[in-house]
C-alpha cells in the first residue's frame, strides 16, 4: 500500500513492540510497559491489540478478527480491513485457517493449536487497580506477590450474591506467579487459557501495557475452597447447531418475545452446521 509501512507502524516502532512482547513471553503474566503509539482508531477500539498484531504479523499470516465471538461486527470488520489494506495478508473467518487471531471479549470455541497466536484487546490491564490507585504500590504488590487482597473482591461477591458473581474479566494467576486480568472475556473462556498450545498476547493501548501467556502455561482462576471457580452454564443447547458446550448468546427473534440461544462464536456454529449438526431451530427451518 502506498504511503504506509507494512502493518502501518514504522519498523522501529514494531521492533520496540516486539521487544516488549519478548519480555512479556519471558515473564508470563507480567505487564510490560511499552511506548504505545497513536493509531488511526480511537482508544476502546482495540488500539493495544492492533499494535501487538502489527508487531507480530508477517506476509504469510492469515488473520482472523473477532468481536464478542463474531467476525462481522463493525469493530472486527474495521480492524480486519485495516490490516488487509496495510499488509495485504489473507484474512479468514475460520479459526482453523487463521495463524493470527485478534479478539475482543471471546476465545474461539475450537481449541487453538501450536503455531497460532491469539491477541487480546485489553481495556484495563491492572487487576489490583480497583483497590489501589497508586501505580507505585501496585507494582510493589506484584513484585512481592501480595495478592491475597484480590480475594476481598470475591468475598464481597459471595457476601452480596451468595456466589462469586464476577462473570467477565475474571482474575487469574499465571504460571503460579503473576496475577492477571484476562480482558473482558466471559469466565466461561478462562479454562481455555490454561495450558493452551497457542501463544496468547495481550495489548492495552491507553495504559501502554503488553503481557503474555506462552504456550502450555498454567493459568488458574482465583476462588475459595468452599466456592470453587465455575463457568456459566445454559439449560438450552445452541438453537442452530445444537452445541451443548459452547458459550450462548440470547437472541430476540420477533416482537412477540420469541427468543433463542445461539453460539456466540459464529464460525464455530457455522462449521458445526456444515458438518451436519442441527439444533432445534435449525431442524424446523430445514423442515419448512
Amino acid at each position: 500500500m502506498d504511503g504506509y509501512n507494512f502493518a502501518y507502524l514504522d519498523e522501529q516502532t514494531k521492533r520496540m513492540i516486539r521487544r516488549a512482547i519478548l519480555k512479556a513471553v519471558a515473564i508470563p503474566g507480567y505487564q510490560v510497559p511499552f511506548g504505545s503509539r497513536e493509531m488511526p482508531l480511537p482508544y476502546g477500539w482495540g488500539t493495544g491489540g492492533i499494535q501487538v498484531t502489527a508487531g507480530v504479523i508477517g506476509q504469510d499470516d492469515v488473520l482472523k478478527v473477532i468481536d464478542q465471538g463474531a467476525d462481522d461486527t463493525t469493530n472486527a470488520v474495521s480492524i480486519r480491513r485495516f490490516f488487509a489494506r496495510t499488509t495485504g495478508v489473507k484474512t479468514t473467518e475460520k479459526t482453523t485457517e487463521a495463524t493470527l487471531i485478534q479478539t475482543r471479549h471471546r476465545i474461539p470455541e475450537r481449541p487453538l493449536s501450536e503455531g497460532q497466536i491469539l491477541v487480546y484487546q485489553v481495556p484495563i490491564p491492572e487487576p489490583l487497580r480497583w483497590l489501589e490507585p497508586r501505580e507505585t504500590e501496585t507494582r510493589k504488590m506484584h513484585a512481592l506477590q501480595e495478592y491475597g487482597i484480590m480475594h476481598v473482591k470475591l468475598y464481597e461477591d459471595i457476601a452480596r450474591f451468595g456466589r462469586i458473581a464476577t462473570s467477565y474479566d475474571y482474575p487469574v494467576v499465571v504460571n503460579d506467579r503473576y496475577l492477571m486480568k484476562p480482558s473482558p472475556i466471559p469466565k466461561f473462556d478462562n479454562p481455555k487459557m490454561d495450558n493452551m498450545p497457542a501463544l496468547q498476547l495481550f495489548g492495552a493501548g491507553r495504559e501502554k501495557r503488553i503481557y503474555a501467556i506462552p504456550p502450555y502455561t498454567k493459568v488458574k482462576s482465583l476462588d475459595f475452597d468452599d466456592h470453587p471457580f465455575e463457568i456459566q452454564q445454559w439449560d438450552e443447547n445452541c438453537a442452530l447447531c445444537g452445541s451443548e458446550n459452547s458459550y450462548l448468546d440470547e437472541v430476540v427473534m420477533d416482537d412477540q418475545g420469541g427468543r433463542m440461544f445461539v453460539c456466540s462464536d459464529t464460525d464455530h456454529c457455522e462449521s458445526r452446521q456444515s458438518d451436519g449438526h442441527v439444533g432445534p431451530m435449525g431442524t424446523q427451518q430445514a423442515a419448512e
Binding site: 501480595e146 491475597g148 480475594h151 476481598v152 468475598y155 464481597e156 452480596r160 475459595f224 475452597d225 468452599d226
Partner: protein, 259 residues
C-alpha cells in the same frame, strides 16, 4: 538460662526532615504485654517516632529491633521489604486516628475484618466469615451489620471495626496514633473500655500516641514524655503523672490534668 527479651528495642533513634528535627535520641525497650504511652504537645515528635517504630517511614539513624516469631531479634530496617510488609500485616497492628485511613470504605465490614486473613492465605469463605463474625462481636458491633460498608457506620463503630480488622491475625504488637482523637467524649469512654479489655485479655503490647493524659492514665503502663523531638521523661504512668520530675511534664500535668 532463659533471659526474657524485649518485644521491641529502640536504640538511639532519630528522624530529621531535611534540616528540620522530627525526633532524636530515642531509646527504650517494650516488653511483652506492656502498653507504652507517648505523650507531649503538638509538634513534639510523637507521630514521627511512631511512624519510625512501625516502619511507616525510615529513620535517619538508630535501630528498631523486633523479636520476631520465626527468627528472634531482627532490626526491622535490615529486613527485606517483603518480610517487613508481612510482619506489618500479621504480627503487628496499626490503628490510625482517622478510621477512614485505616479501613476500606468501599467493601463490607466483614471483608474489612477478613482482609488480613485472606492476605495471609485464608481461602475458605465460610471460615473467614465466622472469624469476622466473632471479631465483630468482640468489638461490640451488631453482627447483622457484617455486610454493610463502614461508610454507613458511626465514627465510634468505624474505630472499633478498624481495631477488629487489625487484631484478626492476633498480632503481638499494636501501634495506635490518637485512636480516640476524633470521637465524642462518651464514645471515647466506651472505646477506651473496650481497648483496655482487649489489651488485657489478649496480652497485647501496645504503643499508643496521645496528647490526652486521661487516655494515657487509663491505658498505658508506662509513659514517655516528648518535647521538641526528645524524650524528656519516662517511667511508670502513675509515677510520671502523680510525681512529674521534669519541668515540662509538670507543666503538662498541671495544665491538662486537673482532677
Amino acid at each position: 538460662m532463659n533471659r526474657p527479651t524485649p518485644l521491641l528495642s529502640v536504640q538511639d533513634l532519630g528522624k530529621s526532615y531535611g534540616p528540620h528535627l522530627g525526633c532524636t535520641d530515642v531509646s527504650f525497650d517494650l516488653w511483652p504485654g506492656e502498653v507504652l504511652g507517648i505523650v507531649g504537645e503538638s509538634g513534639s515528635g510523637k507521630t514521627t517516632l511512631m511512624n519510625c517504630l512501625s516502619a511507616q517511614i525510615e529513620p535517619t539513624c538508630g535501630k528498631v529491633i523486633y523479636d520476631t516469631r520465626m527468627d528472634g531479634a531482627r532490626d526491622i530496617f535490615d529486613m527485606s521489604e517483603s518480610e517487613r510488609r508481612l510482619l506489618m500485616r500479621t504480627d503487628w497492628g496499626l490503628v490510625k486516628q482517622n478510621p477512614r485511613d485505616g479501613l476500606r470504605l468501599g467493601v463490607s465490614a466483614g471483608a474489612n475484618v477478613g482482609e488480613r486473613l485472606m492476605a495471609v492465605g485464608a481461602r475458605h469463605y465460610g471460615d473467614i466469615r465466622n472469624v469476622a463474625n466473632d471479631w465483630l462481636k468482640k468489638v461490640e458491633i451488631d453482627v447483622g451489620r457484617i455486610d454493610n460498608p463502614p461508610s454507613t457506620f458511626s465514627g465510634g463503630m468505624q474505630q472499633r471495626l478498624q481495631i477488629a480488622r487489625n487484631l484478626v491475625t492476633e498480632p503481638r504488637l499494636v501501634f495506635m496514633d490518637e485512636p480516640t482523637g476524633g470521637l465524642d467524649v462518651s464514645v471515647q469512654a466506651r472505646l477506651l473500655d473496650l481497648l483496655r479489655g482487649l489489651v488485657n485479655r489478649l496480652g497485647l503490647s501496645v504503643v499508643i500516641v496521645t496528647h490526652d493524659l486521661a487516655v494515657a492514665r487509663l491505658l498505658a503502663h508506662r509513659l514517655m514524655v516528648m518535647k521538641d523531638g526528645r524524650v524528656v521523661e519516662q517511667g511508670l504512668t502513675d509515677q510520671v503523672l502523680d510525681d512529674p520530675q521534669h519541668a515540662y511534664t509538670q507543666l503538662l500535668v498541671s495544665s491538662i490534668l486537673q482532677p
